[in-house]
């Protein structure tokens, strides 16, 4: 499988009154064609910012891409013009967001909102776009497409709206669909429907999906490959089965341990001690060190590198870095 998109040493910083926040701090990964990659992590770890950086939606003056390159096809997305990027958005790379209830314009009909990218990117006429919109609504499993097309967002439920979002996102046949916590705001049963819709769309067009979530259940269901982020850095990545069965990084281990298992009796649910560090107070160290039960001296003073293990997994942890062994 070929690489569809390669992110190399991407850094995105935000200027605040109190200092610079390195929301994304030198991360590198790639997504292959037809692959579903899940980015997991707690709130604030930088996963959404990564997605926005890829889409070119980081807004100044406070936000800035501080370095790196994003290879997509033969282009570096960070170097192309705004106009070129705009043509790629919604067309070759599209994105859906977390809150379907507020992600659609409340005063424009559903149909018109689906037609917009079709008319723009695919140069369809109004009639063609309308017909395609109806097709898309049916494709995502919503009955009475004509009626829906003429309704307004506030008349639909969250699950339906999210599926409309998916319809809009896949309308121009993108190579990559980025989904930022698409099911977090929805009920579990609706969640299943939405994920199913995503899966079907992917199968039909061999589209790659970058799925951002903090829900390990979703990861287990959808992912081919998993990337774990913490405080703006990638701490572990690997094939989904390998990661779940043999997590290497203490953070990943903690995450998996926190998930309650039905049928298992426990006095207390496990949770990783401590809190996510203040992004303004990060020092040169492993960012996870103050919550890690295996913390060593070197973890407090130097940042671990992302190292490749024998089974293809990558971990950034001094436990596996031979350099640390010689301390």
């Amino acid at each position: 499988m070929n690489s569809l998109i390669e992110i190399n040493h991407l850094s995105t910083h935000f200027q605040t009154g109190d200092g610079t926040i390195k929301a994304v701090d030198d991360i590198s990964f790639r997504i292959r064609e037809g692959e579903t990659v899940c980015i997991v992590g707690e709130s604030g770890c930088g996963k959404s910012i990564t997605a926005m950086s890829i889409m070119g939606l980081i807004e100044g003056p406070h936000g800035k891409i501080a370095g790196g390159q994003i290879r997509f096809g033969d282009k570096d997305l960070l170097k192309i013009s705004k106009e070129e990027m705009r043509r790629i958005r919604g067309n070759e790379i599209s994105m859906i967001f977390q809150e379907p209830m507020s992600s659609l314009n409340p005063v424009i009909t559903i149909g018109k909102q689906i037609m917009e990218p079709l008319m723009l990117h695919q140069q369809m006429t109004k009639k063609q776009a309308y017909a395609r919109a109806i097709e898309l609504i049916e494709l995502v499993g919503i009955p009475r497409a004509e009626q829906i097309a003429n309704s307004y967002p506030h008349q639909l439920s969250g699950g339906m709206l999210q599926r409309i979002m998916i319809a809009i996102a896949i309308s121009c046949g993108p190579k990559l669909l980025i989904a930022d916590e698409p099911t977090t705001a929805l009920d579990v049963t609706i969640q299943a429907q939405v994920l199913e819709t995503l899966r079907k769309s992917k199968e039909q067009s061999n589209m790659s999906i970058m799925l951002i979530t903090h829900d390990l259940g979703v990861v287990a269901e959808m992912a081919d490959y998993v990337i774990v982020m913490y405080a703006g850095k990638i701490v572990e990545e690997g094939d989904v089965v390998e990661l779940f069965e043999r997590p290497k990084h203490p953070y990943t281990q903690g995450l998996l341990k926190s998930k309650p298992i039905i049928g298992q009796r426990k006095d207390q649910l496990y949770s990783i001690p401590g809190q996510v560090p203040n992004p303004l107070e990060l020092t040169e160290s492993c960012y996870f060190h103050d919550r890690c039960e295996n913390c060593m001296t070197i973890c407090q003073t130097r940042q671990p590198r992302l190292m490749k293990m024998d089974n293809g997994q990558r971990v950034a942890c001094w436990l596996y870095d031979e350099e640390a062994q010689h301390e």
Binding site: G274, D290, E293, N294, C295, M296, T297, Q300, L319
Partner: protein, 312 residues
């Protein structure tokens, strides 16, 4: 693998002993406000205005307002920094004395309308039902009638009843607050309605707290930031209204100077053209004071009500 138990324990204990950032809302607000340089400038100017208006005249040799026909209509000079008026009185001193009145009236009428408006707004929003309807209807009524004619009538009434100059001041304050309270009451009421439905109010209900406890313990503290903002911003409006009244000769009357009636006194052909030092300083004084109040009030609003972040 090296396990440094001591370092881990040290880490945890250090984290525990670090003082929690428990600065009160007040202190946080002050800190944020300081960052807004414009608002700080506004506040400094307001302070300056108050100081020179209330303390300034004490340093002036002309504070007694004695009439000095020999010196009348003098342009600005070393002795009279802003010249003299038609009765030979020092304009600068009168300007500062007028400032006392205008500022006092502005503040007092604001305080009065805030008090009335808040009390009625809280009652209206909290108890709902008949009393809510009643208060809101009266407020609607006052809104419907145009304010300027209303103020004029009240001003004319004062003239007809030959209210002595000293008392006119107080009547003007009352008049302005009668016009001002409906706006305050409406805002406070809508805030009350929102707060009432909040979850913590439901919790207070469940705990069986008494009405008064709920009102003062929970609702009022949440209304407070809104009140501060409304109060600051409406002071500017009150000062403007007072100046309009005085300009039309229906507010405070000479010889007591207010910024408004100083402009009115100079609103004749000769003074207007040839003696700008008579009416430009009071106008500028109103303008600068109100703009400072508005900028400061806006800065307050930014930090006290982040949802309505209009400037940043």
């Amino acid at each position: 693998m090296q396990l440094s138990i001591t370092t881990t324990v040290n880490k945890i204990s250090k984290a525990r002993s670090a003082p929690e950032a428990s600065t009160s809302l007040f202190r946080q607000s002050i800190r944020q406000l300081r960052k807004n340089k414009l608002a700080v400038a506004g506040f400094v100017f307001i302070l300056f205005m108050f100081l020179i208006c209330f303390i300034g005249p004490l340093f002036s040799p002309y504070a007694d307002g004695k009439i000095n026909p020999a010196q009348m209509h003098q342009p600005p000079s070393a002795e009279h920094w802003l010249g003299t008026d038609l009765l030979g009185r020092d304009v600068l001193t009168r300007l500062l004395q007028a400032g006392r009145i205008s500022l006092t009236v502005g503040l007092a009428s604001m305080a009065l309308s805030m008090t009335i408006g808040t009390l009625l707004g809280i009652t209206s929003g909290y108890y709902r039902g008949f009393i809510d309807q009643l208060i809101m209807r009266i407020a609607d009524l006052l809104f419907t009638i145009p304010s300027l004619p209303l103020l004029f009538i009240m001003g004319a009434l004062m003239s007809e009843w030959k209210v002595p100059t000293d008392y006119r001041l107080y009547i003007v304050m009352i008049m302005l607050s009668l016009i001002g309270w409906p706006g305050v009451a409406r805002l406070v009421r809508s805030q009350m309605l929102t707060l009432r439905e909040r979850e913590y109010m439901l919790a207070a209900d469940v705990l069986g707290l008494r009405d008064r406890r709920k009102l003062f313990g929970h609702l009022l503290p949440n209304v407070f930031p809104l009140l501060i903002v409304i109060g600051t911003l409406s002071t500017g409006g009150a000062i403007l209204s007072e100046s309009v009244l005085s300009f039309f000769g229906l507010g405070v009357m000479p010889p007591t100077p207010t910024w408004g009636n100083m402009i009115d006194a100079a609103n004749n052909v000769i003074d207007f053209e040839k003696r700008p030092w008579l009416w430009i300083p009071p106008g500028l004084a109103i303008f600068l004071t109100v703009i400072a109040i508005n900028i400061f009030g806006d800065g307050l609003r930014d930090i006290l009500d982040p949802k309505q972040n209009t400037s940043r």
